[in-house]
């Protein structure tokens, strides 16, 4: 009985969370600042700095009271197409979020529009809500066009979750193709609660512990070679400068990879593995915007799901063409590739992806990507989960099969130095570097050897099966195709 009564309380608890989440009107993080412009009172409430919050509230008491008088009360409405799910509608806020999102921030991806469509659809479905709205807004909703107060016409596009009347629009505007495992989850009750927790708890802590970059387009690289973080850092002697190169020269290939002075071998090897197995994945992930900026789509785990159990979420990062360069104008981080440099060509895709990953890292700096795990690097590009077979049992035949299937394979050597192992550097010998990540370059089944590609662009290692099983600490396999 007890367990039953506990379960029967569950919906009430969830509903309470939902009301809390609805009251805080959670919005996508990248739209939050812009959306606040239309609701001055809300913007004060969401401020994390106590001083700023107090100042803000002093300035805007009148605006707040006016807002309260005019704003329609929040309503809890069930969406007919999704049994059990509830949405929280505050229509004026939704429309403004949609508008600002569309105009000011190119990073406002489909997720934001999806949320807006859900809410406008809720309004259409519920006649009682219609009575609360002005005739103007209702007319615009009926015609599926909302007029911006600035004014710019906004077309509400239905993507993915359209219900009822909007479904017809959805048929005309197909959602962008995404890998199955990386489909963004539909915004619902749980998302609302998680967004609320993120904005109310996680974001302030993160901001306090990891202050954001002064210029997000110029990620800091002052601590890429630190000793245990507290014993001094050797800052590369470099300055940001413009690189006038091409995103791709004859398409992406593994020979374009040239790791620089940051310890992101895990990323560079992953890029090499993907470029070798399926260059189209790279071409689809990085787009030249034609204005000196590039858009990079990365698939990331969500903050509340560090293991990625609920899949990976696509995130578009915009990167400009400024990169850390040395006194001769050569890149200090990822380079153009040895062969390209020799030919005087500047192929930029590795450095663009590297910078995008730096910008989207915890504190938005190159320092934060100085080390990382192999799986997440490959997953960030493919949106597909990696597998980690035990290295001691990996055979040459298996590697040949994975390669033939088009899967990307990256391998890491032992973290600690192995002076007694002749395969690790010893005087003038040694094939492998410790704590380094390689990618599977080629398999010679006839001679029973594999060649591991070094992301430096040189220093590849050819190993037998016995050496492979003895020398590697980690192997990751990612289904790129």
């Amino acid at each position: 009985m007890n367990s039953i009564s506990r379960f029967s309380r569950l919906p009430i608890v969830l509903l309470s969370f939902a009301i809390l989440a609805g009251a805080s009107a959670p919005r996508p993080a990248f739209c939050a600042n812009a959306a606040k412009k239309s609701q001055p009172g809300d913007s004060c409430a969401s401020m994390t700095d106590a001083k700023k919050k107090a100042e803000c509230e002093k300035k805007q008491p009148a605006a707040k009271s006016q807002g309260k008088a005019k704003t329609a009360p929040r309503r809890v409405v069930k969406i007919s197409g999704r049994p059990g799910a509830a949405a929280f509608s505050s229509v004026p806020a939704v429309t403004s979020a949609e508008q600002v999102c569309k105009h000011s921030d190119p990073r406002c991806v489909s997720g934001a529009r999806v949320q807006a469509v859900k809410r406008t659809d809720v309004v259409k479905k519920d006649p009682s809500l219609q009575s609360l709205l002005s005739k103007d807004i209702l007319d615009q909703l009926r015609s599926k066009t909302i007029t911006d107060p600035e004014p710019k016409p906004i077309v509400v596009k239905a993507e993915g979750v359209a219900v009822g009347a909007v479904a017809k629009t959805a048929a005309k505007v197909p959602p962008p193709a995404q890998p199955e495992s990386a489909q963004a989850p539909q915004k619902g009750l749980l998302d609302g609660v998680l967004d609320f927790l993120n904005s109310a708890v996680i974001a302030p802590i993160k901001e306090r512990l990891l202050p954001p970059q002064a210029d997000p387009n110029k990620p800091d690289f002052g601590a890429v070679a630190c000793k245990l973080l507290i014993y001094g850092c050797n800052k590369p002697n470099a300055k940001y400068g413009k690189v006038n190169g091409e995103l791709f020269v004859n398409g992406p290939s593994s020979s374009d990879i040239e790791q620089g002075r940051i310890g992101d071998c895990y990323l560079m090897s992953s890029l090499a593995a993907i470029a070798q197995q399926n260059p189209k994945v790279i071409e689809q992930a990085v787009k030249d915007n034609g204005n000196g900026t590039y858009s990079v789509t990365l698939y990331k785990k969500q903050w509340w799901d560090p293991l990625g159990v609920f899949g990976l979420k696509p995130q578009t990062v915009t990167v400009d063409n400024q990169f850390p360069l040395d006194k001769d104008g050569n890149p200090v981080m990822a380079g153009y590739g040895l062969q390209n440099s020799k030919n005087g060509q500047k192929e930029m895709w590795p450095m663009v992806i590297e910078k995008a990953l730096a910008q989207s890292s915890l504190n938005g700096s190159y320092n934060a990507i100085g080390s990382g795990d192999l799986a997440s690097a490959m997953e960030a590009l493919t949106g597909k989960r990696s597998q980690a077979p035990p290295p001691a049992s990996v055979t040459i035949d298996q590697l040949a099969q994975w390669k033939a299937k088009g899967e990307g394979v990256t391998m890491m050597t032992y973290l600690l130095d192995q002076p007694s192992n002749p395969d690790y550097g010893n005087g003038t010998g040694g094939k492998l570097e410790h704590a380094h990540v390689y990618y599977l370059k080629s398999v010679d089944a006839k001679n029973g050897t594999v060649t591991l590609g070094n992301p430096w662009g040189y220093g590849d290692a050819t190993l037998t099966q016995a050496q492979l099983q003895q020398d590697l600490a980690l192997v990751y396999v990612n289904p790129i195709n």
Partner: protein
């Protein structure tokens, strides 16, 4: 009894300094650990302040590579081991395993062991190993003294100058 009640009464007040002492102790232990794990050996006459201002001096961390004027130098390891110095004497000290590539001649890919104060010549390139630092992530500081268009290595300036 009275002594005990006094002790109990003062306990909350003493908690804050205690916590502070604990944190300070932890911090000190972390600093001590990092210093203990970090060993540095430098070339004679090397000054870090001078080297920081010198654009031809670059620091390369373990498992990364640096480029200077077309030559690529990767640092494979930094460890304490036996080496033979220029005079033929066997010593024990910090060494680094470098992998060097001359892009003008990719056949010239060398794997060498270096120590602080050693001069290395690869084709037309020459550099001095100014400093080797052992740590969680070791590093090597090199000063490039000659390249294809520069003076021969024999005429290189004094270390760190």
């Amino acid at each position: 009894m009275s002594t005990r009640s006094t002790e109990l009464a003062t306990q909350p007040a003493a908690a804050a300094p205690g916590r502070f002492a604990c944190r300070a102790g932890l911090l000190a232990a972390a600093v001590a650990l990092s210093v203990a794990c970090t060993q540095v050996e430098s070339a004679p006459g090397f000054s870090r302040e001078d080297a920081d201002k010198d654009e031809s001096s670059i620091t390369i961390a373990e498992t990364t590579q640096g480029t200077y004027g077309g030559v690529h130098v990767g640092v494979g390891y930094v460890r304490k081991e036996e080496f033979t110095d220029e005079s033929g004497e066997k010593k024990t000290g910090l060494t680094a395993g470098l992998r060097i590539l001359d892009p003008l001649d990719p056949a010239k890919t060398l794997r060498i062991q270096v120590h602080a104060g050693q001069r290395v010549t690869v084709g037309e390139y020459a550099f001095l190993v100014q400093e080797i630092e052992l740590g969680f992530k070791g590093s090597v500081r090199l000063r490039f003294e000659a390249g294809p268009k520069a003076a021969p290595p024999a005429q290189a300036p004094a270390p760190g100058r």
